[in-house]
Assembly symmetry: C2
Homo-oligomer: 219 residues x 2
């Protein structure tokens, strides 16, 4: 039986980008279905009834939810020859820690800068810079977060880095210049076809985020 | 070389309980070191400089942080004969989803009931019941969340269930009776030595939580 792989996604979602990158790293062909979050499809509601969120990977009719769990599923299903996660348990825990850091620290910090204004935004900017500083220190002189090879932590983090350009416009900061090691890492990541094809155009993303911000602030 | 396994922990922490259960499931001997969170030890700050939180597992001098990542590390290091996670990638994603649900839904819902008062608490109680209802439905007629065997999702969820007794006292609810399948599941879990030894006495936990609540509300 031919494999059926469907991805329910939204183009601007950093969480969705992770899944697209992982699938392309593995050379898996997939049917990308764009969702309208203001009018979620019956398929999305059926496949992720608990969280009702994208991304959802549907593999031969069975759903896998939550981006980091999907990336691990992809690795365990198609990654035997060239896995995203290392084999050593300690190294696995280490890259999982940085993926978890993306969700627990980076995402809220970036989001806070976008949604805040005035003094609140100044505080959010400082907090955001502190969060990225930790990553700059962790990366050090390594090519990727896992070492010499592009892997799980990179897949998890690079979509958030792609938001920094929009952040610079908005918050008048030079966060990209401030962290030269992260900037080189991002360039290395972007040289991979899997990443370049999965991250949206920066200008398009910035316009979308600005529009989205206005709507949320108006509420 | 003999293995050195140290766990930095706090007895009342649901996150710490997960790690204790997993270590005991594997028959790993460990040195349990109680932390005072108002005066964190230099070892904790050194071993978890990013989050500065318990639990931290230190295995032969190397730290592993974040409870779900620690449980997976324990499984990958000592679980070859009787693993906590299933081997099938889809089943792995499924049990990981419910462990993730414990962190993203159950923990905030339980916490909100404890920290709120009056009308806010009524709303928090309703939300909390909705969260547990999802688990009751998912468990269905299975013995454990993964099926016939006690495993990763159970390890992740049972410490939060142990908080429900304190919640009943506080919120005058009968949440335990309301979900009979979860109640039977919890009894099955508690019959395991690993679980019984790792969860604190309910009365002691309730007193601690009530005291903690007063302090937080006073702030």
């Amino acid at each position: 039986m031919a494999e059926e792989v469907i991805l329910l996604d939204v183009w601007a979602s950093s969480f969705g980008m992770r899944v697209r990158i992982a699938l392309r790293e593995m050379g898996v062909e997939f049917d990308l279905r764009e969702e309208d979050l203001s009018n979620k499809s019956p398929l999305l509601l059926k496949m992720n009834p608990v969280n009702k969120k994208i991304p959802v990977l549907i593999h031969n009719g069975k759903p896998v939810c939550e981006s980091l769990l999907i990336v691990q599923y992809i690795d365990e299903t198609w990654g035997h020859e060239s896995p995203l996660l290392p084999s050593n348990p300690y190294e696995r825990a280490r890259v999982r820690f940085w993926a978890d850091y993306a969700d627990k620290k980076i995402y809220p910090a970036v989001r806070a800068v976008f949604l805040s204004m005035g003094e609140d935004q100044e505080a959010a900017k400082k907090e955001n810079i502190e969060c990225w500083k930790v990553l700059e220190g962790e990366l050090g002189d390594k090519a990727y977060f896992g070492g010499e090879r592009f892997g799980y932590a990179d897949v998890s983090l690079i979509p958030f880095y792609s938001w920094l350009y929009a952040l610079e416009t908005l918050a008048d900061s030079n966060i990209v210049e401030e962290f030269p090691k992260m900037a080189s890492w991002a360039k290395r990541c972007m040289q991979r076809e899997s990443v370049a094809k999965s991250l949206p155009d920066q200008h398009k993303l910035r316009d979308y985020i600005m529009e989205h911000r206005k709507k949320l602030q108006a509420q």
